[in-house]
Every structure is written in structure tokens, then in C-alpha cells.
């Protein structure tokens, strides 16, 4: 079929409570990552790099800041005559008004938008994960299998498996069973929360699910088990690249540290698959005469006069002379004053750090935000 249409729906409404004060005024997808990015830059750049030209971003918690950031999608190039990025916050309609109650409900409430786009396929993504992935390959897999639904999955440890939707698949990747957060996992094949649906199937499943008062309107808990029970064609798409859920302070910190590891498979320096982001009007990054910078990444606009080791430094950060920053993430517009020692910490935006912030190896990562 010529010109098949694919629309991506990006779930970005969550608060991310376990990121503590980092998400006090900011939705989790808008949290800063990797010296210049926000978490949501990764799935949006993946869409751009996968040739997806229509993206709906479903926002809810602190939606203003996120909607402003997404704007018309121009940061990711999805804003031309042949492409569209639109933020879809909950709205009042003829049927009333309600918040998005679950992942499936969020999509259900935007069926009008999907109908207007009339896609053949819908890619459902989450705004919470750091990874690079070419969704077009997953779509080819979906089509080759004549699947109703394809779920991207990766192998996790048995212990981690308890936190994920876990599936069992046959030798042809056909999914046989699916359990959300199992107490006793029978497999380690975990759902990454990335789904490709054939739209007609998605539409009818969402309408059926909505009619069921018992349902929590969630893809993992309701839609997928129901489809399996009804003998729909569900396939598991194996992914073996870097993928990290940065849902906690600890995991956000360690994903940032991963960028400093040359062996880490997540390569943000690969110009063939760039991660796009907002352009800050920063001055060039300055490293002073007495500064020492090693094993770190530093963004434009930073002003470094102290010592930075194994850290991630965002734009417009000032590190004064004699300050020592190690194993830390310093977010935009923050100042580390002269002589201050910061170790194993995440410092949020627009802070002035005047005293030492240090956590030891056996302690939780220190957070100032």
C-alpha cells in the first residue's frame, strides 16, 4: 500500500513522583538529562529519525511547561508542511470532562484526533525513557507478522522482571502470555511500553475497554490481556540497545553517568541519529585558566573555573575556582560557589550551592532541587 500513514502518540502526562523535588513543578518527561536534553527529546528525536511525521503528545501533569517546550515540534523538525506535532491535554467535550485515567483512556479520549489523521498504524510511546530506537524497523516487523499489536521488549533480570509487564513468546515472537508486574515472573522478556497497533484494531479495542466498568483503562493491565484472550495476533519485537527508565533519582543519576562511559551503547555523538533539543541562546562554553575537566560532558554556556571530574554539566552552569564537582549532574543556571565540594549528587536548576553536598558510595544520591 502506498503512503501508509503512521501516527505516534506519546504519553507524557505523568508526574514521576519518585523523582522527588525534580518534578515538583515539572512533568517527568520535561526533566533535564545529559547536559543539554530533556527526557522527552529522546522519543521525539526517535520519531523524527524514524520518519514519523505526525506526533500527538499527551500531557496532563504540569502541562503548561511541557506544552511550551514541545510547542509546534520545531525543535525536532516535526513542524513542516508535511508534518505535525500537537500537544493533547485533557479537554472538555460534549460528553463532559475528565482527566486521563490510564494509558488506554488517554488514547481513547483522543480518538477524534486519530480519526482526523486516519492512520494505518499508531505507535504508542512513553515520555519517560532514555533510548535510541528506529521505530520504522519495528513497524516493518509489525507488518511482516500481520500483527494486530507489536510490543517492544527487552531482556531484564528476574528481579527487575517484577517491575515490568512480562511476556512469554514462541520461537516466532508470537506472544503467548502477558502479566503486568508479576510477583513470580515466568520469563524475563519485559515490555518497554512501546506499542504499535494497527489502527482499526486499536480503535475497536479502546471502545470495548471503555465500555467495561471493571477496566482500569491501562494497556498492560487490560488491553493486552483482553486481546490475548480474544486470540488477536500479538508479537514481541526484541530490542537489544540501551534503554533506561529514569523514574528515580538513582536511575536518573546512573543514566547520566552512563553517558560518560565509553562502553555505553547509547551514543549521543552519532551524527546519523542525532538527539534534537531546544536551542539555548548560550554563549560558548568557557574553561578557565585554573580549571581541570576530565571524563565529563559540558554544554554550551557553562563557565568552568573549578575542577570537574566524571560529571554532567548543563548550560549556564557556573563552577567557581576551587570548587570540586565529582560524579554529579548539575542542571541549568546553577552556581557552585568557590571551594564547595559536590560529590555523587544531582543539583537542580537555578540553585546557588554554597556548602558541600556529598553522598558516599553506600548512601542514596544527594538531591538539591
Amino acid at each position: 500500500m502506498a503512503n501508509e500513514k503512521t501516527v505516534a502518540m506519546l504519553l507524557a502526562g505523568g508526574k514521576g513522583t519518585r523523582l522527588k523535588s525534580l518534578t515538583k513543578k515539572l512533568a517527568k518527561p520535561a526533566v533535564y538529562f545529559g547536559g543539554k536534553y530533556r527526557i522527552i527529546d529522546f522519543p521525539l528525536s526517535n520519531c523524527a529519525n524514524s520518519g514519523i511525521d505526525t506526533v500527538g503528545v499527551l500531557t496532563q501533569y504540569e502541562s503548561t511547561a511541557l506544552n511550551t517546550y514541545i510547542s509546534n515540534g520545531s525543535n525536532w523538525g516535526i513542524d513542516g508542511n508535511k508534518s505535525l506535532t500537537v500537544c493533547l491535554a485533557p479537554k472538555q467535550t460534549d460528553e463532559g470532562a475528565s482527566w486521563y485515567r490510564g494509558t488506554a483512556d488517554a488514547i481513547y479520549q483522543n480518538l477524534d484526533f486519530l480519526d482526523s489523521q486516519n492512520p494505518d498504524y499508531v505507535v504508542i510511546l512513553s515520555g519517560d525513557h532514555i533510548y535510541k530506537m528506529d521505530y520504522s524497523k519495528m513497524l516493518d516487523f509489525h507488518k511482516a507478522n500481520k500483527a494486530d499489536l507489536t510490543v517492544a521488549c527487552l531482556n531484564v533480570s528476574l528481579e527487575e522482571a517484577k517491575r515490568f509487564g512480562i511476556m512469554k513468546a514462541d520461537a516466532n515472537f508470537k506472544i503467548e502470555s502477558f502479566t503486568e508486574k508479576p510477583k513470580h515472573p515466568e520469563s524475563t522478556l519485559a515490555s518497554m511500553g512501546i506499542y504499535i497497533f494497527s489502527y482499526k484494531v486499536l480503535r475497536s479495542e479502546l471502545i470495548k475497554d471503555r465500555a467495561n466498568p471493571e477496566s482500569e483503562n491501562d494497556f498492560g493491565k487490560n488491553i493486552i490481556p483482553t486481546m490475548l484472550a480474544n486470540k488477536k495476533r500479538l508479537f514481541a519485537y526484541p530490542f537489544d540497545g540501551y534503554w533506561k527508565d529514569v523514574g528515580t533519582v538513582e536511575s536518573l543519576w546512573s543514566a547520566n553517568m552512563d553517558l560518560l562511559d565509553d562502553k555505553c551503547p547509547l551514543n549521543i555523538y552519532d551524527s546519523k541519529m542525532k538527539i534534537f533539543s531546544e536551542d539555548t541562546r548560550s554563549t560558548p562554553q568557557y574553561i578557565g585558566p585554573n580549571a581541570c575537566v576530565k571524563n565529563s560532558i559540558i554544554n554550551q554556556g557553562a563557565f568552568i573555573e573549578g575542577n570537574v571530574t566524571h560529571s554532567v554539566i548543563f548550560n549556564e552552569v557556573t563552577i567557581e575556582e576551587g570548587a570540586v564537582v565529582e560524579d554529579s549532574v548539575i542542571m541549568p543556571h546553577t552556581v557552585i560557589k568557590a571551594g564547595v565540594h559536590v560529590k555523587r549528587a544531582i543539583i537542580g536548576t537555578e540553585r546557588v550551592v554554597e556548602e558541600d553536598i556529598i553522598s558516599s558510595q553506600d548512601e542514596e544520591i544527594a538531591l538539591v532541587a
Partner: protein, 370 residues
């Protein structure tokens, strides 16, 4: 506020020697992040001018590439904008390739725009200015033509061949003639003019009657003695980028925070094109001191008193001092570099040493392997 048209004039520009064989100063990289034209276009933009044009003399490709969207410099993407004006018939005809002839070829631009006042400014003289109070004063006092001038203390060395301005006690220009480097304390023209649109038409007619080779600068020089031309004195950072060695010297000078703060200010939104490069990465053996490092660079060697552009790779054992390295260059095999301007996408892989000086820099051409 009076509606003004901002015109970046790339005619009568200096050049930076070997850096400008395929591009003009306007689109040459500066501080690893900007193009020279960003500075004056941002001055226009921050002065609330949203009708802008670039009078292009040559090297159109690099200009178009830099400003392709144009929307970066204007507040509203439908009202106002950035227009490129090019004098196709005279482009390859040295004598005729003047700003006056370019204007005549493109008079539709002036006619079409609502502004009554035109601000003409160069890309190779860098300074920061808010044109608003000047335009207001110019209109209020019915000055018709005004020139921005500045007092400098190093006229033997800087602004050579630029115009010295003789200004009378009432602030009017009495004479304008080239600086031959005979005196240090001089007042120079910043080649920036505020002109009533109707008067500009008159200048075009006057120039045409005088000589088909006449430039705007020639015309104003000739009129300086006979016509009341007002001057506004600018103070603060100003540099005229007129040679490869001045390019290196003035770029490195901005590593001094005191100089940097004279030009840059948090209130000034300096716009430029984004390339979506990741943050700079420093590896185990990086030793970087007193330098600007652009995004996308991967540094594992020594860098001192230098400016490193986007996506530059500096391997372990390499030492770079007093140099400007343009984007995409790779330096390896322990090369020692001092006083070098290295154009884009070069590979320094087979040299042990490249030694120049700030006064007499070495140069590596775009894409060359050395």
C-alpha cells in the same frame, strides 16, 4: 517607535585572508559558535527592527545557508523578515559590484517596506548597540543622515583603511578620509549609517551621476564636507576584523573575561543557527585551560588559550595553543600546534608540529589533510 529597516551591508567589507576565499566575513565562524553576521543582525533584532535585508556582494551560498529560515531574527514570522538582496547583473563585474548598484537593482525592497528610516551596518565591525535611542534622536532632530563613530587609541594598528571622521563641536561630520595608520588616537567611522529613506534615494541618484563605480562610502565621503551629516559616538567594545592575524588576535582576546563582558551581556539575545550538536565531551587525558569549546567536540589532549569549534576531535598527546580550530577537524598523533587558524573539516594526522604566532598565524585550508 519609528519604523526602521535594518540593512546588513556586505559590500565594502574587509576580508580575513585565506579564510575568505569561499565565504565572506559575514558567514565566517566566530568563537566556535557564531557567524560574524549574527552580531549585527542581533543588534537590529534587539533594537526592535524586524524588517531586515542583507546586501550580498559575493559567496551567496554560505550566507543563504546561515540565514535560510530568517525567522530567528524577527519577532513575528509573518510580519517582517529577512530578505537577501543580490545584484545579479553586476555580481562578477568588480567595478560595478557596489552597494549603490545593488540598491538600485533592488529598489523594490525599499519601496515595499513601510519604514522611513534605514539603518545600514557592516558585518565585519563587531560591537553591541541599541539603535532605538539613536533612531529616535535622528528623527526628532531631523538629521537625515547620521554616522556612528568611535574614538580609538590604536589607530596605527587597527581600523587601517577604514575612515577617520573629523567631527565638529556640534557633532557634525566635517571630513571623512582613510586611516593610513599615522596616529593612534583617532575617531573612526563604524560604517554604520542611519539614513532617511527619501535621502537614501537621493544618494543613489547622486552617486549614479558621479560614477557608476561609486559606493555608499565613497558617496558619504564626498558629501561629508558639503552636507550636514550628524555623528553618534559609540563607546565600549569595538573591533574591525580585517585580517587573519586580527581574526586570531581578537578571537583569543575574548578569552579574557574582562573583554568578554564588554561585548556580551545577559540582556543581549545573540541569535545564531543551531546545529543540534551534543555537549562537549572531555576524556581521561583532557587538559583544557582558558579556552572556548563548542558542543560536539571530543577532547582528550591539551588545549590552552584556544577556541575549538563544533565536532572537533582532539586525541591524546595533542597540544593546541593560541589557535582557532574550525568545526569538524580531527587532530591526532601527538601534533603540537601553536598560532594556527585551521579551517573546517581538516585532518591533522601526519604533522608533528605546526607553529605560527598570533601576529603571523599558520593556516590550514578547509578539508585538507596535513
Amino acid at each position: 517607535m519609528n519604523k526602521a529597516i535594518g540593512i546588513l551591508n556586505l559590500h565594502d567589507s574587509n576580508n580575513l585572508g585565506l579564510l575568505n576565499t569561499t565565504r565572506s566575513v559575514a558567514s565566517t565562524s566566530f568563537l566556535g559558535r557564531y557567524a560574524f553576521m549574527d552580531f549585527m543582525l542581533s543588534n537590529f533584532s534587539d533594537s526592535g527592527i524586524d524588517e531586515m535585508a542583507v546586501l550580498i556582494k559575493e559567496h551567496t551560498r554560505s550566507i543563504i545557508q546561515h540565514v535560510a529560515r530568517g525567522g530567528e531574527w524577527t519577532k513575528n514570522s509573518k510580519l517582517g523578515g529577512l530578505t537577501l538582496l543580490y545584484d545579479e547583473p553586476n555580481a562578477s563585474n568588480t567595478g560595478y559590484s557596489t552597494d549603490i548598484n545593488n540598491f538600485k537593482e533592488n529598489t523594490w525592497f525599499l519601496k515595499q517596506n513601510k519604514g522611513d528610516v534605514v539603518v545600514l551596518a557592516p558585518a565585519d565591525i563587531i560591537y553591541r548597540i541599541d539603535f532605538r535611542p539613536l533612531i529616535e534622536d535622528h528623527v526628532k532632530n531631523n538629521h537625515r543622515i547620521s554616522v556612528i563613530v568611535q574614538k580609538i587609541n590604536n589607530g596605527r594598528e587597527a581600523f587601517i583603511q577604514e575612515d577617520i571622521a573629523h567631527v565638529d563641536t556640534n557633532g557634525f561630520l566635517r571630513d571623512l578620509y582613510p586611516n593610513r595608520g599615522e596616529e593612534d588616537k583617532i575617531t573612526v567611522s563604524l560604517r554604520t549609517y542611519i539614513i532617511d529613506k527619501e535621502v537614501l534615494y537621493g544618494l543613489l541618484r547622486y552617486a549614479t551621476k558621479t560614477s557608476s563605480f561609486f559606493s555608499l562610502r565613497d558617496t558619504i565621503r564626498k558629501l561629508a564636507k558639503d552636507m550636514p551629516i550628524y555623528t553618534y559616538e559609540h563607546e565600549g567594545y569595538v573591533r574591525c576584523f580585517d585580517s587573519l592575524s586580527h581574526y586570531l588576535e581578537y578571537s583569543l582576546e575574548l578569552l579574557d573575561r574582562n573583554v568578554f563582558n564588554q561585548l556580551f551581556d545577559n540582556d543581549w539575545s545573540l541569535y545564531t543557527k543551531t546545529y543540534d550538536t551534543p555537549p562537549a565531551k572531555y576524556l581521561e587525558h583532557a587538559e583544557v585551560k582558558n579556552s572556548f569549546i563548542a558542543n560536539g567536540s571530543i577532547i582528550n589532549g591539551k588545549v590552552e588559550h584556544s577556541i575549538i569549534g563544533r565536532d572537533v576531535v582532539i586525541d591524546e598527546g595533542v597540544e593546541v595553543k593560541n589557535s582557532v580550530i574550525f568545526s569538524g577537524t580531527h587532530i591526532s598523533h601527538g601534533c603540537k600546534i601553536d598560532g594556527l587558524v585551521c579551517d573546517k573539516d581538516a585532518e591533522i594526522v601526519n604533522s608533528a608540529e605546526i607553529i605560527g604566532s598570533i601576529k603571523d598565524p599558520q593556516f590550514i585550508k578547509r578539508g585538507d589533510i596535513v
